[in-house]
Symmetry: D2
Subunit: 494 residues, 4 copies
Amino acid sequence: MPPAHPFDTSYLRDMDDGDKLKEECGIFGVIGVDEAANFVALGLHALQHRGQEAGGIVSHHPEHGFQSARRFGYVRDNFTSQSVMETLQGPLAIGHVRYSTTGSKGQTAIRDVQPFFGEFAMGGAAIAHNGNITNANALRRELIERGSIFQSSSDSECIIHLMARSLQRTIPERMEDALRRVEGAFSIVAMTRTKLIGVRDPLGVRPLVLGQVGDGWVLSSETCALDIIGATFIREIAPGEMVVITDKGVESHFPFRPRKPRFCIFEHVYFSRPDSILGGRSVYETREAIGRELAAEAPVDADLVCPVPDSGTPAAIGYSLASGIPYAMGIIRNQYMGRTFIEPTEQIRNMGVRLKLNVNRALIEGKRVILVDDSVVRGTTSRKIKEMILDAGAAEVHFRIASPPTAWPCFYGVDTPQREKLLAATMSEEEMRDHLQVDSLRFISLDGLYRAVGEAQGRNDKQPQYCDACFSGEYPVEPSDQIESGFEMKPAAE
Amino acid sequence: MPPAHPFDTSYLRDMDDGDKLKEECGIFGVIGVDEAANFVALGLHALQHRGQEAGGIVSHHPEHGFQSARRFGYVRDNFTSQSVMETLQGPLAIGHVRYSTTGSKGQTAIRDVQPFFGEFAMGGAAIAHNGNITNANALRRELIERGSIFQSSSDSECIIHLMARSLQRTIPERMEDALRRVEGAFSIVAMTRTKLIGVRDPLGVRPLVLGQVGDGWVLSSETCALDIIGATFIREIAPGEMVVITDKGVESHFPFRPRKPRFCIFEHVYFSRPDSILGGRSVYETREAIGRELAAEAPVDADLVCPVPDSGTPAAIGYSLASGIPYAMGIIRNQYMGRTFIEPTEQIRNMGVRLKLNVNRALIEGKRVILVDDSVVRGTTSRKIKEMILDAGAAEVHFRIASPPTAWPCFYGVDTPQREKLLAATMSEEEMRDHLQVDSLRFISLDGLYRAVGEAQGRNDKQPQYCDACFSGEYPVEPSDQIESGFEMKPAAE
Amino acid sequence: MPPAHPFDTSYLRDMDDGDKLKEECGIFGVIGVDEAANFVALGLHALQHRGQEAGGIVSHHPEHGFQSARRFGYVRDNFTSQSVMETLQGPLAIGHVRYSTTGSKGQTAIRDVQPFFGEFAMGGAAIAHNGNITNANALRRELIERGSIFQSSSDSECIIHLMARSLQRTIPERMEDALRRVEGAFSIVAMTRTKLIGVRDPLGVRPLVLGQVGDGWVLSSETCALDIIGATFIREIAPGEMVVITDKGVESHFPFRPRKPRFCIFEHVYFSRPDSILGGRSVYETREAIGRELAAEAPVDADLVCPVPDSGTPAAIGYSLASGIPYAMGIIRNQYMGRTFIEPTEQIRNMGVRLKLNVNRALIEGKRVILVDDSVVRGTTSRKIKEMILDAGAAEVHFRIASPPTAWPCFYGVDTPQREKLLAATMSEEEMRDHLQVDSLRFISLDGLYRAVGEAQGRNDKQPQYCDACFSGEYPVEPSDQIESGFEMKPAAE
Amino acid sequence: MPPAHPFDTSYLRDMDDGDKLKEECGIFGVIGVDEAANFVALGLHALQHRGQEAGGIVSHHPEHGFQSARRFGYVRDNFTSQSVMETLQGPLAIGHVRYSTTGSKGQTAIRDVQPFFGEFAMGGAAIAHNGNITNANALRRELIERGSIFQSSSDSECIIHLMARSLQRTIPERMEDALRRVEGAFSIVAMTRTKLIGVRDPLGVRPLVLGQVGDGWVLSSETCALDIIGATFIREIAPGEMVVITDKGVESHFPFRPRKPRFCIFEHVYFSRPDSILGGRSVYETREAIGRELAAEAPVDADLVCPVPDSGTPAAIGYSLASGIPYAMGIIRNQYMGRTFIEPTEQIRNMGVRLKLNVNRALIEGKRVILVDDSVVRGTTSRKIKEMILDAGAAEVHFRIASPPTAWPCFYGVDTPQREKLLAATMSEEEMRDHLQVDSLRFISLDGLYRAVGEAQGRNDKQPQYCDACFSGEYPVEPSDQIESGFEMKPAAE
């Protein structure tokens, strides 16, 4: 049933959404501290860039049982007031921020906001995930046939129903049982009355890290959310690992058949925050290294290196340091944007990117400018930025892109346009340059990107070290539901 | 999981709630008209007295599928605006208003607001009920054991899960299958993509009527809701009957073992609107007849007959007509009450009934006054009204109550205080008179009430014609869940 | 500057507004009690029928100075919560409820909500009024010429500006000075830091009463608002009197030239609550007496006397008692109406009076029915009610109206349609009967009405005892602003 | 009367408010375009950094007259929707964003939100200002004595009342008349039905620029707001100039006695946006130049130059370019902050700056870090940042501040702590270094700052080229109201 719900949440989206890939979720969980939900709220605030549309927290208190709150909007606006937080008690809590929705025509009903909760015969469990279950539609059909009633369009609910029907006894055993039926790329935090559980899919596509705070334990999508609560970063959850954390400590399970890891390379490029650490590497330094690679691969004579704010900044700094061309803020971001406008007037709608960015006119005039951006998706923003820069009197505009051409959609928990909307799906680099009408346009090579993330030999084409499906079209997990809906994979021969 | 939800709905309750029995729900459904949800909204507005806390509508449109909206507050405030109603399209819709909740500690989560929707293998169905399933807890435990995940604390959800697991093929067959597992006193409206379904429990405790509007059909808790949409009253659904209405017409099923009907006698006294017709009798005229019976059973020499507004009005008119003592509005109701106050100040809280009622001082002064009320539940309001009347200078105060002493809680979809809170559970009529400190207090006899509703011979004690458990303690359906929770039935010998 | 304000308050109006005269304001003030604003909130709640659109309270605390809150909506919803009331401290407070606005095209800006506050050289004063200043436009023009800046379209503001510019020293002296420039029909409550002030215009058109509560004093539009706070009714403020109340007691001033009183007779018919006392008479009993007069003046053979709820009720009871024809509730009011719908759908809009009233079908069928209503303004509601009654199968419909034909607009603080919209302005009683298509239609005579309010000789045409301009067209205060805007007075010869 | 208003606007403030000087207002006006208010909304959005608490727009339409809307919160949230903007019609509009309030104990009532409107004998005028009238209290007292009624605590209202009482005929003449009574540092935009008026105080302390868009004219606090609407920057309004713009063009008046200009030097340091042009200089380039000056004045051996985001960024880039020490983002700002939390829990409150900033741990560890910030006000933030950097393992921390020590409050429209709260008011540079416990702390010299803004010879102490009272204690306009309230000026001898 398509939800007829009270809030039009479309205003929570950035005006340039169509022109960025967007991570769909951030997850966080804490056990063994006083008022765990407070920690979760802070952690989710630090993970807000992974999902700005809605958030939810479930906690468990020995006396009051499970408690939950789910809201549209920012963590900051929903999960900081006394009145809400005092309804989320106890030493154990998990939380979730989400960007958008799977399947519900671009709108989220509050019932689709995670964590998802289910009452089993042996007690309740809550679960939240980041990523995507690629056989969710098939599983859902099967479960409905058997008499399960779904209440949301969330993938997490499949796992809960599989667990409810499992023949195993304990919740962790039921979860292992359920996970073996599930395909996809996902990280999970879950909780029972006494356990915090974390899972990473066999390929480890989506991130999940373990931290320690006082006597308690933390699970988080990124390390930057450990920092905000003063937790110590212990290690990443291993691909295919399931950790069950109780007051006795952390126990590891490996429910899946072992596979070679394929971490999402785009987390390094854009999704993760620059102050997080991924695979032992500072994201900021990786992005600076991408800029240095770009300067080596695609040098150009110019007066200024300017980032497209804010995501292009570290790569622009790297490009400047490697090339010796001065770094400057040629484009200023209006810090009062972030969400788009509600029912805007015609005139506002037409403003587009000018509401958000302004050219530093006096600086740019007469200069040859290198603009560094993280990616080109549909190309609409790039084109408008180019026009603004030229209007301001720049002599030349050179685009340098900190990722290879995005030619394929991601089906692993990232909001991507349909393939035909991706500029690189239909145009060569040369054609894109003509389309954008800039003096030059260069993307980092796939090998260059692999080098920047630490693979000195570049990409191993036989056995790629990362998931780079959005660039290469090689999907490490078959997107079954998508293929069923008509998506055409890249021919093997290609 | 106890819901930690955003709205404190307690303000939606009347300040005198504790002192009235409250019907918990009204239901309404329409098939075969344009924009069926508009009719449902009007019908629910007319049934608002049966549930003021929240309301919901589900509709089905051939193209857009099932659509729903559920809101706290009045129908008038939620289901009349263009923007909401245009999301509820199609020729088939059902709706529900509810007063309070079963089991959730006095607060309703929005997910407990009906109609309840479930997706089955052969398509979806929505369901709403008025009444109570007396073995809901046991059914729920059994279903959870088998792996069903509940999303609400609503009884309706048991029926949906039973249907989801039924081995039968069609939805009506599955519903029959499910209903055979269910005990209690309830009326149901349900819908599939093409069918409107109505069910009344085997005893016919709760009302449900059938009407016709243009080429379409209507199901409603009361006839007053047929009037508002200009529908013609056709007949009551029979106790134990299940009607399945399609564009081919109305089909009758009788899934239950036949039993003698036991319609709720309190619907005549208080729950139903005076302009409804129950069992072929005008509710208003029945109440006037109760007043006449009372005048005959419990005459008293006095100057004025005054109703306790508004529910005592028809009985007071009857008493006046039978006794010849002039009828007068001795107590004036403030029409701007209806809901209570949000976080009231101490002083406001202490005002109690004075916020709602004021004595017509100039009229009352020096007079011997007969006050006619519909019932005495906890006696708190009666006591305050007595004080107000005496403060205003009345010479004598005589209470006449249009129902027998309410000595037992109702477990069939009515919000009643626990037994020990009922004044009549612990006191005789004489003791209540002393407690209320009035010059006289008389309740209509149970036989008198039966006569007023048309049973010339009064109550048939061997085979009572109505459910009168709240007066007699004789429960026609065993309240299993309640007994499990410690409720003590009246000893058989009593 | 026409206000561009955030709330469309039109939804606060009854759907039948166009068909009732509406009192525009209620006023209330208290001095000498703890937390005076709490008393004012309760008083305004009891006066809510005099103005449902908005309300305001100003209080004064020796330490915190003047405090105020002004809100759209019901008193109950705005002035009962701890959080609002704790911002309104001190032993002295005044308040105001308003129905609609003068001059602002049917919408009220929050700045037009009274009480109005001004800071003078010798301290601040707040003021609220009920009624109308008939030379407000001329005064306003004069004040603007002299350099006063108006912030609202409220008449009260003229008085504040006149006071600010007065050459007198004390605030009461300045108020006397200001009042001498003012023409119209109004009652005023005002306050300084230490004084509560009440004023009634020279003719005493609008009501104002004095009460005592503990050691404190109360001013109120009606006595029913004394009851709610447990205050004792002392006396009416005399026409032309100004009372200045301090902790030393009540002091009387008479700033105006003495005139014969002309109290508004329509307060008896409709505006005041039935449990109020006006001119020493119970409003309820007056209305019952009107019914008795009507029965004598306009008898008819019939089966039932039914009120048009709720305002026709006392007169219907009187008619029944005098005629011996049984009283019955033939029309039931839906108690969940009261305000109209927001942006209603087409279908809802077309429902009109059916959303609010339903015929008690079973009772009416085949009967000859007398319908008693308080007044006929535009006749639109009367016509719809007649249709509903006939649809329900009534054999005959006889209208009896508890006031004479309303043929002239009121300019003294009452919301009336323009003269050409008044049915009685263009039709005789006979023509109205034909227009409404009823079996008979009779209004009480003007003399009959005067008798019912206690003038045994009827109306003194040379020197009418009341203001009855709405019936007679004889305006006791010249409506200067209206004449300036083109209103044509009744020719003297008529 | 202290306002008892519905919104607690304190949540609109940054959590670090106490530690930044804050410009109090931005102003914008347009004449001669279709739907002028749309332009004003866009302009105010670009000026949002000058005032985040509330905004207002007044427009004038030949047919509908003056229209206005005033709201708390961001321009983006209030002035972009169709429904609001269609109430602001016509070719002429002015607007205002404000940060905080003068005199109302830290809270703004909606009536204090500008533009302020007044109706005069010859028509209405609206006015908005940025800055402060230093003799406002005295003027207000005088006006109240004469009988003016004030409705707000805004300085602008003094000007309106002076204009209302002026003996001159036209509104521009009356404004000149009024301005001659006014002392202070302010820029004004005002409008009549046909004229857009701009004024800058005689010293030109606050900025105001003139632009052209199509056939229309624009007044704005900064040039960055011309860019967003595509307007061309024409020139700055001269100190002491009043421009009156009609459809005939721009007319200049000079109502004040000529004085040497004293533009606010802090606009260059912090208040203005980096993409604005002030006094013919790019703000960004000035800030970069400040960084270069700082590198020359206060060099230090280190590994990284990091800005305190976002205001320290251009100076950090300049420092890096001049020193050759690599620039890096050592501190990452959470872009979902900006406003503080509503009723935060204890734990949230204690988080302070960590909610907003996180150290880029992997980058900082073991490094000697130069932190560049724009200013030090109370020092609380600087201290917390230092702790975070050291916690992350930095080897050394060196603070470089892009302005001289802030030792004096600003009384010209800037929100500054009281003098004793300013760190530099009670400590020498050395003491501040010890207080902050950093390895070194250096402020740019006052001469260095003058050089960076283009005064090659540095500051002319006899006749300073700028207002630098916050650094020097030399106030170019006597802060009369403040002195009256007890503020002690720096002794002349000092």
